[in-house]
Symmetry: C2
Subunit: 115 residues, 2 copies
DNA sequence: ACCTTTCATTGACAATCGTCGATGATTGGG
DNA sequence: CCCAATCATCGACGATTGTCAATGAAAGGT
């Protein structure tokens, strides 16, 4: 390739190593960020942990509420965010609401962090 | 166990399955949430991806800047947040700044998401 | 010595977030 | 039929966030 632009060439050589590939697409970056954002709050991390650790993989709001020292409305709000992010599911049985992990959601996220 | 409190017992049986254990401690929840929060923005996810995909594991700001359609100051701000969160390191060489992944930081996070 | 380049930092602004109290919607029981 | 319990939703508030334009700091080249 004759007539390459020498100015650009030397500039690149002196400073920048090109991004070699594997850079995430905009759409995927947004989707990933949305899930991480949902986990970017201590209360929601604790909620996920409680649900994951609860027997049968399900937890009732009455459990989650009383061990969090937050108003009931606030806890409900956090749970709603986790559902909207695709990390939890909500099932109403009678008067009670039960939350469970979306199967595979957290492992799928973990995958994106592996080398 | 005689003399268990029947009211509490039946209440628990009708509603709540107890958190069986393994619930994350407050301090750990906060630490985890801080890292996830740092990844809870599309721009920062792309930055991490670019650094991870760059040759030699290092990326210069001049690279990162020009492919992001954001002001230089904004990109620098995001990079600073990722450094503060313990996900990236910054090394100045001459006029240029190079960012690299903190070794093991992302795999450690991935570990916390595994079943 | 000056000027340019590279990058971090500051100040400012709108937008979003976490929280609460209060209200609303369902369900179950007397 | 009404009442109590469970939980979601709403309105409001202070605090934090993402962004930019502008400025500051340090290094290199001429």
């Amino acid at each position: 390739m004759p007539h390459a632009l020498p100015v650009l060439d030397t500039a690149a050589a002196s400073c920048c190593s090109p991004i070699t590939g594997g850079v995430i697409a905009d759409h995927d970056a947004a989707a990933l960020a949305a899930k991480f954002k949902a986990m970017g709050d201590p209360t929601r991390v604790k909620l996920l942990s409680m649900v994951a650790a609860s027997g049968g993989g399900e937890a009732c709001v009455c459990d989650l509420n009383e061990s969090l020292d937050l108003s009931q409305g606030t806890v409900s709000h956090h749970l709603g965010l986790l559902v909207k992010a695709g990390l939890l599911t909500r099932t109403k049985r009678g008067t009670w609401s039960y939350y469970a992990l979306v199967p595979g959601a957290l492992p799928a996220l973990a995958e994106t962090l592996q080398v």
